[in-house]
């Protein structure tokens, strides 16, 4: 029986998130103190050694990323917290910020010290104005107590653009521009916000940092999957009995998540598919449910861990209909900067609506596959590259669903 393990959500339900005294009484801000007593290189080495990889979806080694910014000589550097969680089916960052905002602030301040930055931004999605208020309160308390040791944090609010979850688009948005991704390289750790070295990490990544400092890299590395250690916060949605949030070690399998924690499929129906990682994730069939959720195991089956959204569909769901809706999402959210995405998402949506209406034929299936492959390779940023995944994985794993709707 799989069980929860709360590292990121360690204080959830135990402290009043808007009382800094509660956070401090639970050991809060001690890790920042500890970090500041260490040499910057040693601190970065500790984070690197823990094996913590970015929890926003890209899975890059966190300490390694920090080291890139640390190595650049610059009078000004920035730390940015990506709280623009826009992947449909995902609300874990909201849960983290609502229940323990100070753990995020502390993680950011530790990063600031490590790379030599005294200014941080939290870019919080516009859909969460109530979270922005909470964060501002938490920041005011931290300033009043003087616990951030001179590290300044400002909250900026997004305005409903999914693409701003991509780190360079997010940076453009903080600068007051349209949120269009930049050409890379250079990458943000070297040239980022206002052309200065900038570390952009996800909310969940930052919330892990204080615990890693407190308990040590070796402790953290021993949890979960070897190459993607620690825990992952998952949000269960769709046709599952327990539609809620769980934090589990990364060696937990998909089946354990859906059945042990999620309580299985609603109304005693049968399982059909699960889409993990948000709306850009792959669709996974029953035969792959014993895969552990860690980054590399998911990639190996042609899926992703992504944001940790777990969207369960029962036997009654029409996969082609759901994928058509998802294709509509990407057409709407494409920023329009690069043509493979701007045109590709539009054509893909058209083809999927045609399939869904029962007017598609075998040629359309080949077109979908070819277009998807081209977009995966040719799009500028992660949005366009991942947009075809729901189409391509359902063509592969659920071909019968398409066959049944052919003209």
């Amino acid at each position: 029986m799989a069980e929860e393990m709360r590292i990121v959500l360690r204080n959830m339900g135990k402290i009043d998130p808007l009382k800094i005294e509660d956070y401090i009484a639970a050991g809060g801000y001690k890790s920042l103190e500890k970090a500041r007593s260490m040499e910057q290189e040693a601190l970065i080495e500790e984070v690197k050694k823990s094996g913590l990889r970015g929890r926003g979806g890209a899975g890059f080694n966190c300490g390694m990323k920090w080291s890139f910014s640390y190595k650049v000589q610059s009078e000004q550097k920035y730390v940015v917290c990506n709280a623009d969680e826009g992947e449909p089916g995902t609300y874990k960052d909201r849960i983290i910020m609502e229940n323990d905002p100070h753990s995020v602030l502390e993680g950011m301040a530790i990063c600031g010290y490590a790379i030599g930055a005294d200014k941080g931004y939290i870019y919080c999605r516009g859909e969460y104005p109530y979270v922005v208020e909470m964060l501002n309160q938490a920041i005011a308390q931290a300033k009043e107590k003087g616990v951030l040791a001179g590290f300044d944090i400002e909250v900026r609010m997004g305005a409903g653009a999914y693409v701003c979850g991509e780190e360079s688009a997010l940076i453009e948005s903080i600068e007051g521009n349209r949120g269009e991704p930049r050409f890379k390289p250079p990458f943000p750790p070297v040239i980022g916000l206002w052309q200065k070295p900038t570390i952009v990490n996800n909310v969940e990544t930052f919330a892990n940092i204080p615990v890693i400092l407190e308990k040590g890299a070796d402790w953290y590395k021993a949890i979960g999957a070897e190459r993607y250690p620690g825990t992952k916060v998952l949000t269960l949605t769709g046709d599952v009995n327990n539609r809620t949030v769980y934090e589990v070690p990364t060696d937990t399998t998909i089946r354990q998540v859906i059945y042990d924690l999620g309580g299985g499929i609603k109304d005693d129906k049968k399982f059909k598919a699960v889409q993990i990682g948000g709306t850009s994730g792959g669709f996974i069939p029953e035969s792959m449910l014993d895969t552990p959720i860690d980054f590399d195991s998911m990639t190996a089956i042609g899926a992703v861990l992504g944001s940790g959204a777990v969207f369960v569909m029962d036997e009654s769901r029409d996969i082609v209909n759901v994928v058509a809706r998802i294709a509509g999402f990407f057409e709407h959210e494409s920023c329009g900067k690069c043509s493979p995405c701007r045109e590709g998402t539009k054509r893909m949506h058209e083809l999927m609506e045609k399939m869904n209406a029962g007017q598609g034929d075998g040629t359309d299936l080949s077109l979908l596959e070819r277009l998807g492959t081209v977009m995966t390779k040719a799009c500028l940023c992660g949005l366009g590259q991942a947009a075809p995944a729901p189409v391509l994985t359902t063509l592969k794993n659920f071909p019968g669903e398409y066959q049944a709707k052919l003209n």
């Binding site: 995902t90 609300y91 859909e127 305005a159 007051g176 521009n177 949605t237 709306t279 709407h332």
Partner: protein, 148 residues
């Protein structure tokens, strides 16, 4: 109502502050007045085209009037399978307008949105950003009655 120039001026020292200024305008008016874009361009030292480009890029920002209560219906996959279209139908019927329109009295505007991050209780709608969860067609009348 505060003058839009006064609202925008509050953000002129903030680097990249035009989006925050637009948010502040929307907190006051629920939309961005057309003239305010011109003024924002001058304050933030950009062309009117750029200021307009920013205001039209983001789906939460809107130039030109909309209602006192902005009702957004999430149509992302988890809400889609939970029956968001039935909620849409009920809202359109109750208010007598189509998605994207505003009631003649200027009270309600209906908009589609993508995920609002409340997927534990789908389908979800928001009214002026406040989420209403586990929505059904039957609940619509009561929810609208709250908007006074």
């Amino acid at each position: 109502m505060a003058d839009y120039k006064a609202i925008i001026d509050r953000y002129k020292e903030l680097p990249g502050g035009i989006i925050e200024a637009y948010h502040a305008l929307q907190r006051e008016y629920n939309y961005i007045p057309e003239d305010a874009v011109d003024y924002a361009a001058r304050v933030f030292d950009m062309s009117k085209a750029q200021a307009y480009g920013v205001a039209t890029f983001y789906s939460y920002l809107k130039i030109g009037e909309r209602g006192q209560y902005i009702i957004r219906i999430c149509e992302s996959a988890p809400c889609h399978v939970a029956g968001a279209h039935e909620v849409v139908r009920a809202l359109e019927k109750e208010l007598g307008i189509k998605m994207g329109e505003t009631t003649p009295d200027g009270k309600f505007t209906l908009e589609f949105t993508e995920c609002v991050g409340q997927c534990q209780a789908t389908p979800v709608i928001t009214i002026n950003s406040k989420p209403y969860r586990d929505m059904t067609a039957e609940k619509i009348a009561a929810v609208l009655a709250e908007c006074q």
